[in-house]
Each structure stands twice: as C-alpha cells, then as structure tokens.
C-alpha cells in the first residue's frame, strides 16, 4: 500500500535523495546505447568538445535522477506517473566519479477539476554534485491519487 498521497504534498514539502556516485563505465555504457556522441563516449575525443572532457549524457542524468526519486519517493506514493516535463536545464557537466544528490520541493499542488480521485503536484527537482554545484534542474507535474477522493482539497 502507498504511504504517500496527494494530500501529503504541500508547498512546505522538501526532500533529499542520494548521494549516488556516477562511474565512468556507466556514463560510457548509457551513451553507447542511447547517446553515442564523442563527448559522452571517449575521454580523448571529449577533451576537444565544449564540455572539455568526458561527461554524462543529459538524458543519463535525467534517468539517474528518476531512479533516485523512484526509490526515494514514488514507489511509496500513489503516483499515476507524469504527463510530461515542463522544463529541464542542463547547467554543468556530470563527470565520472561525481556523487549526485537530488533536492525536491513543491511549486504547486492542486486537485484535478475533472477527476475527483487525483491531483497534480508540480515538483522542482535540483541535482547537485559533491562540489555543491547545481548540475541540473527539472520541473515536473506528477499525477497522484488522493487519499480521500472527492473531498474538496
């Protein structure tokens, strides 16, 4: 049974998940399958790109963040998934050996007007490396079931 429902997410809600270390092998492994650009695959080739050295695919960073949030929160939440992502900013390269921490906060929470069993929680997720730099931000509305359907929120 889920522990968390729509009603548990207010504008005061915050959480932190991780740290999660990112290895060189997994950066190259993800890139080989999904984003085979030199800057994500090969140290020497990456040195000559704008990133100045091997860095994770931004999609890989999103996926690592997703796993941290799933394990830390969503698997215990009556989540119905996300209809999309408002915005992602890739601010700094994610390097081999970086340890990533995700910080979450709530930008908005409102019950669905059309479906009384659910609400939308808009989360801001910020990903930091172990040097304290924000490497990525993501804004995402999550569909979550209400603990008490039909009762005005």
């Amino acid at each position: 049974m889920p522990k968390y429902y729509f009603e548990d997410f207010s504008l005061r809600w915050t959480a932190q998940y991780g740290p999660r270390r990112v290895t060189r092998e997994e950066i190259i492994g993800f890139a080989a399958q999904y984003d085979p650009q030199p800057m994500h695959l090969d140290e020497e080739a990456a040195r000559h790109t704008m990133l100045g050295g091997l860095a994770a695919s931004g999609w890989h960073s999103c996926c690592i963040m997703m796993k941290l949030i799933a394990d830390g929160l969503l698997l215990d939440t009556a989540s119905m998934g996300a209809p999309g992502i408002d915005e992602v900013k890739w601010l700094k390269p994610v390097r081999p050996g970086d340890s990533l921490t995700v910080q979450g906060s709530v930008l908005d929470a409102r019950a669905s007007q059309s479906k009384p069993d659910r609400g939308f929680v808009k989360f801001l997720w910020e990903v930091f490396n172990d040097r304290g730099e924000c490497v990525m931000t993501l804004v995402c509305p999550q569909m979550i079931l209400r603990r008490h359907p039909g009762v005005p929120a």
Partner: protein, 160 residues
C-alpha cells in the same frame, strides 16, 4: 552537421523507428524507472495504463539515439561530398516534454525532428543554439511524445 547559418526553421528530419519489446521496457525500467507499470505485466494490467508500457525516459532516450545516428549518416554523406562538418555542442536543456499516450510493449514509434527556432548566443562566440520540435508517433498514427529540444551548433567561420 551543417553550420548553424545553413540550418533553416522548418527543416525536418525523419529519424527512423524503434519497436519497444516487453524485455527492453523492463530492462530499462529496472535500471532507471522501476515503477510497477513499467516492470510487471500483471501489475501494469491493474494500473490506469492497463498494460505494460515504456518509461517516458525510455521513449526519449530512444529518440536521442536515432538523432545521433541520423547525424552520423549526414556527416558521412557530407564527408563523401568533400564538405566541411560543423561541430555539434551539448544541449542546455529542453522544454514542454509531453508524454501524450502510453507506449505499450510491441508498439513501433516513428521519430522526427523539425527546426522551430534559431538563436545566436552572446555567451558563446562562434556558436548558435538551434531549437527543434521532436516527436514520436505510434503505428496507429497517434502522437505519443513531443518536446522542444535545443543544442549548440557551430557557426560558419566569419559568419558572426
């Protein structure tokens, strides 16, 4: 890659197709998005999705791979014609990603990319940012995914 200056709003690329097998969906989900509707047929059948479906991140990662492969083919053709290949930089991000329909096991998604905006950047002389609307459409012709992506593209030398 063409230079930033040779790319036009409205340019469209047909990137190809990907078929999402149940095995691929579950393998991806176990690594990155282990929600039960991406992991287990029986649990997915009980969920609001009604059947096993791919993580939204899986559907966009598959787009990325096809986009890179398309660029490689384009670069090889340019090389064969003796043309210069412009450098492609990283992406500063994306916006308005919409997962419009579930991608179910067995679905075949056709991906495309269309340039919607170009912007010269003051912060990176010699580079511009190209914005493209990227889409995935299933075998029934339903749009399942779209987003506005962006990426740095090298400017033609002397164009700035």
């Amino acid at each position: 890659m063409r230079y930033f200056d040779d790319i036009n709003v409205g340019d469209r690329m047909a990137l190809g197709t990907v078929t999402f097998t149940a095995e691929d969906i579950k393998t991806f989900a176990a690594q990155y998005d282990p929600q039960e509707f991406h992991m287990d047929e029986a649990a997915a059948a009980r969920s609001h999705f009604g059947a096993l479906c791919a993580s939204g991140w899986h559907t966009v990662a598959a787009w990325m791979n096809l986009r890179v492969q398309y660029g490689r083919r384009e670069d090889a053709e340019r090389s064969a014609r003796g043309e210069v290949i412009a450098r492609l930089g990283p992406s500063p991000g994306f916006r308005e990603l919409k997962w419009l329909k579930p991608v179910y096991a067995g679905d075949t998604i056709t991906y495309a990319s269309e340039v919607v905006e170009k912007r010269v950047t003051k912060s990176r002389p010699g580079w511009g940012i190209v914005f493209a609307k990227n889409t995935g459409t299933n075998q029934k012709g339903e749009l399942v995914m779209s987003f506005i992506g962006s990426g740095f593209v090298e400017r033609r030398p002397g164009a700035a």
